[in-house]
């Protein structure tokens, strides 16, 4: 390649993923695939009661069974601390009661583990767990967040009076009150964002190995954030030096937030491995995952939106009860506060807004981040209320949106709710594009005609904005987040010219190996095949906060780019030395450094890497090797946006909803790999529309999870999800040099209200103004028939 030939850029190309060959041939390495010599298996004894005192535990029968090595209870593990409560609500008093490795004296949810059996194989462990006899004294339970904080409710934790985790607010209460008191129109609704179960197809688990001579553990974990888990387990739970623990996340079979958190099994496998001197494995079965691993959403909200008869929104007042579950999960309090309240006004300029949130303990599974985490709840709320307002004043919902959108010239935009300014956006083109694809005007005519024939079609619009690439650290510190939120990367060019990238991000389906390699190949001008991306092991990767919040490209990817920039800078210096030229005259382009004006006089990055590695002839003071690390802390978050449109037909006889079309127009800034972006959008939409139509975790009043398996919890099949039409606008983020925003959560944040708005539009002739999710045929039929 001569200097004038441009290497074909990979950024922006839909390359198929380099991750896939092992996964399509059955050679992925997931947690449960790992077998260690001498490994023991753990089965838990879990509470059948939602709330009870533990009176006694008798393990004698279990211990007598052949193959059983030990039985431990919570009291055996009082030498380690409870799980950490890492993100507490900012600026207010929190009452964090995180779980212990095993429950002690009392259980607070169905599935709370009270004892663990360790046995030679998993069948024996299960049999023995069934043989452990536990006597309980049941206590009254509460599952509803609003009821939990009422006087007289059962009290779950002594340390949290009235079951309150926190009471938090943002915005301007006086202004919102005044706007509502003086408004021409006020719409008011109780909006329930039901509890969901994330359901990664791989459940969670841990394997721990301990070396008694060195006091060091290795823990394999289903984790989205192994560096964070290493930090929390050593510094907070065990009180040992961080260097004593190596955490490895092998292939992780989906997370959707559920695998961000520090779970009890990480601690009790470590504890048991140390106690017994043998490796131990714990893997949840699906019903354990449903009972004990974290759930998402579960808000009860009273919302009031004020406006004028000509469609201007003037105020919003929101009161939310957020269910936190039985214990405080790792970042539980940040989700319904910073990531919800501070973006409640969405894509609209609303002059007066106020949000009050009460976090409540209940006798249910812990609630923490689930895909979108707070932002789907906010987006659902505002988009439902805007439609409700449009219906009230008899204005087209698209028109109301246009009238209230934040305008391109308003960016950077401060929404007045304590968020950093929205970075960039242009909301109307995305709306117009989605409506054009849907044939909106034509549809409205067709809809009116079909109504005459007794057919009920509806169209739903959802315009959203979200917070991605969450940072900077200094701001997040002020939000109660207990650490930084930068990302890191090391890039080194070996003697052979091959490039190794190590990242603290933790891909678990997002295709980051491919995306990151595309960036490095372009930036460094080397063949894509020459770039290797390593991740997942705290030994050998720099500290990173992990993959969640659509942040791995906008934060982790930029850290990689900056390391490459440093490599190029060093390579230029070295080239100047070797070519006996002035450094200012060296151009680095297409993987080659050459003297300006003499493109034939140059060195490839491979030649420079070799020269740096052998170090025979370096400029004075230069260290050998091209090896650079960056820690990138962005100056702001990024704010992706878009508009989704959905068309449905409702059968008034049965209440059945047929999804006729689903159109997504998203703007995630620049795209590195459009194939991967589209896949993220598809998957996100499926999860959001599943919330609208199918899914809901249901507890009875005694705290029994009625949707405890995949038989009862309706994760959609292929036949329940429609064909999805995707398109984009591109508004690069000014926050980072890649111009990227993030795409992992957008689909979920946009879609639930899109489907609900369509259903409610279809039901307008029946006077239906709002429906709670999921919009099951029964619920719709009842709404049509006024029951």
């Amino acid at each position: 390649m001569t200097a004038t030939e441009l290497k074909e850029r990979l950024v922006g190309r839909a390359l198929k993923r380099r991750e896939d060959p092992k996964l399509i041939t059955g050679h992925g390495n997931y947690l449960d695939d790992i077998k260690l010599p001498g490994m023991l298996h753990i089965a838990l004894v879990r509470s059948p009661h939602a709330h009870a005192k533990i009176v006694s535990i008798d393990a004698s029968k279990a211990l007598a069974m052949p193959g059983v090595v030990a039985v431990f209870t919570g009291k055996d593990m009082l030498d380690i601390n409870p799980m950490p409560a890492a993100w507490q609500a900012a600026g207010v008093k929190n009452y964090p009661v995180p779980p212990r490795a095993l429950a002690v004296d009392k259980v607070a949810l169905v599935g709370d583990p009270v004892a663990m059996v360790v046995a030679e194989d998993r069948y024996t462990a299960r049999d023995a767990a069934d043989a452990v006899e536990v006597e309980y004294e049941p206590l009254p339970a509460v599952v509803d967040a609003r009821k939990a904080v009422e006087p007289g409710a059962p009290q779950i934790h002594e340390a949290a009076p009235n079951n309150i985790v926190f009471e938090w607010e943002c915005g301007n209460k006086a202004a919102a009150d005044a706007a509502i008191a003086s408004a021409e129109v006020v719409v008011k609704e109780e909006i329930i964002n039901q509890r969901l179960i994330p359901t990664p197809m791989e459940t969670r688990g841990s394997i721990a190995r301990y070396d008694a001579l060195t006091g060091e553990w290795t823990v394999w974990m289903t984790s989205q954030a192994p560096h964070v888990h290493r930090l929390l387990l050593t510094a907070f739970v065990f009180g040992v030096p961080e260097t004593k623990l190596r955490c490895i996340a092998p292939n992780v079979g989906g997370g959707f937030g559920q695998k961000i958190f520090c779970y009890n099994d990480m601690a009790f496998t470590m504890w048991a491995a140390r106690k017994l001197g043998r490796p131990v494995k714990f893997v949840e079965d699906r019903s354990e995952n449903y009972k004990y691993s974290t759930h998402g959403r579960d808000h009860i909200t009273e919302a009031e939106l004020a406006g004028t008869r000509d469609g201007k929104i003037t105020g919003l007042r929101v009161k939310t009860w957020a269910n936190i579950g039985a214990y405080f999960s790792t970042v539980a309090a940040g989700i319904p506060t910073t990531l919800y309240g501070r973006i409640i006004t969405g894509v609209y300029k609303i002059p007066a807004a106020y949000v009050h949130v009460t976090g409540a303990y209940t006798n249910t599974a812990m609630v923490d981040a689930y895909r979108g985490a707070g932002r789907p709840e906010a987006s659902y709320l505002i988009e439902r209320m805007v439609d409700r307002f449009a219906a009230e004043i008899g204005m087209d919902p698209a028109e109301v949106r246009r009238k209230n959108f934040i305008q391109p010239e308003d960016f950077p935009y401060d929404n007045g709710l304590g968020l950093l300014p929205y970075d960039s956006g242009n909301y109307e083109p995305a709306l117009n594009k989605a409506l054009e694809i849907a044939g909106y005007a034509e549809f409205r005519k067709q809809q009116a005609e079909l109504r005459q024939q007794g057919r009920y079609l509806g169209i739903g619009i959802s315009s959203y904005v979200e917070i991605c690439g969450i940072a900077p650290s200094a701001w997040m510190g002020g939000q109660g987040w207990g650490a930084g939120l930068w990302e890191s990367a090391n890039v080194r060019v070996h003697l052979t010219g091959k490039v190794v990238v190590t990242t603290g991000s933790l891909p678990h389906g997002q295709g980051l190996e491919t995306t990151f390699a595309q960036i490095v190949a372009d930036e460094l001008g080397v063949p894509y095949e020459d770039v290797e991306v390593q991740w997942g092991d705290t030994q050998g990767t720099p500290f990173g906060y992990g993959t969640y919040g659509s942040r791995s490209l906008a934060v982790g990817g930029v850290a990689i780019k900056r390391s490459v920039d440093k490599i190029k800078e060093k390579a230029r210096k070295l080239a100047a030395h070797l070519l006996e030229a002035n450094e200012a005259d060296i151009v680095f382009e297409n993987g080659r450094a050459y003297v300006k004006g003499s493109p034939d006089k140059g060195k490839t990055i491979g030649e420079l890497a070799a020269a740096a590695a052998v170090a025979y002839n370096l400029p004075p003071g230069m260290e050998p090797f091209l090896d650079e690390t960056s820690y990138y802390d962005p100056p702001n978050c990024t704010f992706p946006f878009g508009t989704h449109v959905c068309i449905v037909e409702v059968d008034p006889e049965t209440g059945h909803v047929k999804l006729l079309r689903y159109i997504a127009v998203d703007d995630c800034g620049n795209q590195i790999n459009p194939l991967i972006v589209e896949g993220q959008i598809h998957g996100g939409i499926a999860q959001g529309l599943a919330q609208a139509l199918y899914e809901g975790a249901v507890y009875d009043e005694d705290g029994q999870l009625l949707t405890g398996t995949l038989m009862d919890y309706a994760v959609p099949t292929a036949a329940m999800v429609p064909h999805i039409e995707t398109d984009y606008t591109v508004t690069p983020s000014p926050v980072n040099p890649l111009g990227v925003k993030g795409a992992g959560e957008a689909g979920t944040i946009a879609s639930a209200q899109c489907v609900m708005n369509a259903i409610i539009d279809a039901l307008a002739p029946f006077g239906v103004k709002h429906l709670q999710m999921p919009a099951t045929p029964e619920r719709i039929w009842k709404a049509i028939h006024g029951k």
Binding site: D20, L23, G28, Y123, M201, E202, T717, A718
Partner: protein, 160 residues
């Protein structure tokens, strides 16, 4: 303990197993064929689908002893001589997987579907895969992957 003889991916095995041992555990823990996954305990998710005598079956609800004398194919046995099965190729080409956990079962179920219906419509693909759950892809690209494989297999057959 019961003695069974099975042929898995063309290799004959004779093993002593507990009568209650599930086929999926036999494959994963006795034969170390960990490509077949477990995603639920109620036969909903289909991550464990394998072929028994050429028919797709959920190995989490099959006892190993029921397979005495059977020919079993798992995801590890689908590619031949380093040549991917058209479905494996389709899933790769069309981005039909993200985390990959459901993928082995999804591919095995799709292989059976294409055997029964070599030229399915998108709707038939969606219904044909109702026994398999994917949480990552929203199924759009899985449908594209199966269609890709169907077209490729038809073209290969026509060429033969």
């Amino acid at each position: 303990m019961t003695t069974i003889t099975v042929t898995v991916n063309g290799v004959r095995y004779t093993s002593e197993v507990e009568p209650r041992l599930l086929l999926v555990h036999y494959l994963r823990e006795h034969l170390n064929l960990t490509g077949t996954h477990i995603g639920c305990d109620t036969s909903q998710c289909g991550a464990c689908v394998v072929h028994i005598n050429g028919v797709s079956v959920k190995s989490c609800t099959t006892l190993a002893v029921q397979c005495d004398g059977a020919e079993i194919t798992t995801i590890e046995g689908l590619a031949h001589n380093g040549q991917l099965h058209p479905l494996q190729e389709g899933f790769w080409e069309k981005h039909g997987l993200q985390c990959g956990f459901c993928t082995p079962g999804m591919i095995m179920a799709a292989a059976d579907l294409l055997k029964r219906n070599p030229n399915p419509t998108d709707e038939e693909i969606r219904h044909g895969l109702e026994g398999n759950l994917c949480r990552c892809t929203g199924y759009e690209n899985i449908v594209r992957a199966v269609r890709y494989a169907a077209e490729k297999m038809a073209a290969t057959q026509a060429a033969d």
